[in-house]
Symmetry: C2
Subunit: 469 residues, 2 copies
């Protein structure tokens, strides 16, 4: 019997019960950390594999930087250290010996990359440099939740430097669209794309682009960010290069990242009260075959499965009842179950259970070809995406005043409203409603003569608001 | 002009010059750490990819554990903490706040895995559990050298638990042979396999198996270890399970690892005074095409290269001279260079430069098929392995007394000798000669009535000695 809590009853407990029942995580020995059990780590590995292909197309190369950064180096960029200082894990001892300069366990690696760029970009011939690392980063968090907010998490961080401001700005834009496409195509998650207000920007960035997904409980999840760092870091870290006309200039810089938080996004976008639901490109295996007859499987089905490129499948011939096994893979969100009982063997068929539509269909063996399986998986992905897109579209409410705003937020909606408030106003609104600006909308709507719904100030922009993780 | 120092003149400077000239590393901001530049990281990624396939065949699943371990937990296994205490990086502060229980940045993850096993192995049905993680680990080192000995390094650590002692011992043996085979087939490095003396064992292990490679300067490099931990950790960490007859027992445990040190082994086994030399399975690309005529390449050669599975290649059409480009990829150790100048285009051919044999051969286009390229690469790997094997075989000297021992070690040889010394004797011999026991030899030679060459004590075993990294 599955022990999954109803998501309508208690969304937070539902989430935790999915983690346990689908065997995704254990809690770590240090508060706020988690063990990625094999099934969860395979999901992350698949995300890495798929996204890494897209990064390669952007000309990004993988490398690897040390975990530890001297605190003295960290302090060189004032806004950056201010943004991270209270969240830092600090190494002050080696064995029993005190260190004279503390080491910081990286919360992000701007500093390391900056040092690298200052050594490796001597001339315009060396530019652009586009580097990425898949690594662990650390930020002390008080309220932690597995995948969504943990003190150690995993991510990719891309850092790039360019000759011109225009190139850097364009790359930051290109990157956020790659993330948008990746979430759509690999994770089946629709997102809203836009830029952060000044108040919500990354510490040290001149502009931050973001993709925002909406979870089933109406809370937004910032799912990927792309930062235009301008010359803010290059001036502090002296990243100079020789220009074409033999003078010197500072490089223009960007950085970009998505993290294991995406696993949280997957769960809270697709899963249901029966357990985890996974899109086919990210599932550890797309198909589980449940049978007691290995010979039937080997002769009738295995050749077809083996002929499909990039298909991972699992065969379960354990001595538990079919029913118990079916329930197990339901909870684990395996996209397709091939169930082969006595009846199926008799009439040379397979019963296929679709985790998303919850339909069981009996398919004759002659119909079960490569094409049938791949199109079933691709249909399943489309259904997942469309369901999530409908939910997102139905959740956006346009409001004109604070009362409408409060009602919409309390109804677990995402709000779209004209906004020209200051950072101070943003804080006030958050205190009042627990909602924050998610991003400035890139819609084509005319913004002429629009006034802020909250402050009545002119020159408002169209902005998304929501409560968020 | 390549700036590679002659290895005969100064082996250590030769090694460092290879690192720089082949663009493998920068030094990190923290002493003893390195930045893996893209070319080096790709080598490590390829090692991961190839070895991971072999681990899967052993039934090992990947997962991921937190980096930080509470010091209080670490202290539970006395020998273990004793082995690592002076090498530990300790986190004592979060922001400006002192922690009441320090955190250790993992030097290895036995403790984390033990905690996991105690939670996840309730019954004999759950056993065996075989888990692996690819991660970064940390040990403060005084004398560091990139790849060989760094304060942060990368590795895979496999940890497994079993019902019986026999299974665990067998798994530890199987594992060391998988490493041996991997080094032979993927890295083209021959090794000596055996077990460590008590003095050289892993802290907390009952037995340690090792593979030892011999570098070109006559120093041994411990290249992979497999530990039988017996019930040493399971008793301290209370890893109990319910047995078939409803009683309780402690599990039998093993652990196994190879690290980024293997990149050092690659360099010091195969490279030469012209630069890096890489075996084909591990090289970031197996083929570089040097040409100014993209059309000729696209129409005449690209289709053949694209038809070869798992082949990575690079095309260099930069505006530097052919000679400069050839020299560059020589230094970077690309296995095959396809050089296409004016002459080659005229007579429809390609000149192929083999990095290992240093031969240049002109090949007509019609000969340049898939078979030719794959067999050229496989021949190149065989040559690499055989060269290294000859070197290893020619470097082993059997000795009967300390004078012969000293002479052999000073001649940069590996020594094979009968040994039944104590830990104290082992320390003495090291002080006298700077050589250590590498492993107890598993040869079939009769050991009856053999006396120790150093102490004259009876019941000697046949043991390998060398200076080592």
């Amino acid at each position: 019997m599955s022990k999954i809590i109803s998501s309508k009853k208690d969304f937070s407990k539902w989430y935790t019960s999915i983690l346990t029942e689908a065997d995704l995580v254990d809690y770590g020995l240090v508060k706020g950390t988690i063990v990625f059990k094999p099934y969860a780590w395979k999901i992350w590995t698949n995300i890495q594999k798929e996204l890494d292909k897209e990064l390669k197309k952007l000309g990004v190369e993988n490398c690897c930087f040390p975990l530890m950064i001297p605190y003295s180096e960290f302090k060189k960029e004032a806004k950056h250290v201010e943004g991270f200082a209270p969240e830092l894990f600090r190494i002050t001892k080696i064995g029993d010996k005190e260190l004279s300069d503390d080491l910081v366990v990286r919360p992000t690696s701007e500093i390391s990359f900056c040092k690298y760029f200052s050594l490796n970009s001597k001339s315009y011939n060396d530019l652009p440099i586009k580097l990425n690392q898949w690594c662990n980063v650390f930020r002390v968090e008080k309220n932690t939740r597995p995948f969504l907010r943990t003190s150690e998490f995993f991510w990719q961080e891309t850092h790039a430097i360019f000759e011109t401001k225009k190139e850097a700005q364009q790359f930051a834009l290109d990157f956020i669209h790659v993330y948008e496409k990746f979430l759509k195509e690999a994770l089946c998650i629709p997102v809203i794309v836009g830029e952060k207000t000044e108040y919500e920007r990354f510490a040290g960035a001149s502009n931050t682009y973001t993709i925002e997904a909406l979870m089933k409980d109406g809370q937004a999840l910032q799912s990927g960010t792309s930062h235009f760092l301008d010359q803010n870091f290059s001036k502090n870290f002296d990243i100079k290069y020789q220009t074409k006309d033999n003078s010197f200039d500072y490089v223009y810089q960007t950085s970009h990242g998505v993290s294991t938080r995406l696993i949280g996004a997957l769960i809270m976008t697709h899963s249901d009260d029966n357990g985890l639901v996974l899109p086919s490109k990210i599932a550890p295996y797309q198909v589980v075959v449940i049978t007691d007859d290995v010979n039937y499987f080997n002769s009738q089905i295995k050749p077809t499965l083996d002929s499909i490129q990039d298909l991972d499948y699992k065969v379960d011939t354990s001595n538990k009842s079919l029913g118990i096994r079916i329930a197990k893979y339901e909870v684990m969100g395996v996209p397709l179950q091939f169930i082969i009982g006595r009846k199926e063997i008799e009439d040379k068929s397979v019963t296929i259970y679709n985790r998303v539509t919850k339909e069981k269909k009996n398919i004759k063996l002659e119909q079960l070809d490569k094409e049938f399986i791949t199109s079933s998986l691709s249909d399943l992905d489309k259904t997942l995406y469309n369901n999530a897109l409908n939910f997102l579209n139905n959740s956006i409410v346009e409001v004109d005043n604070i009362e409408e705003f409060k009602k919409a937020i309390n109804d677990k909606k995402m709000v779209l409203a004209y906004w020209s408030g200051s950072q101070e106003d943003e804080k006030k609104l958050k205190e009042l409603t627990q909602a924050t600006t998610r991003c400035i909308c890139w819609s084509k709507k005319s913004l002429e003569n629009k006034k802020c719904f909250f402050t009545n100030k002119p020159d408002a922009k169209l902005v998304y608001f929501a409560r968020s993780y």
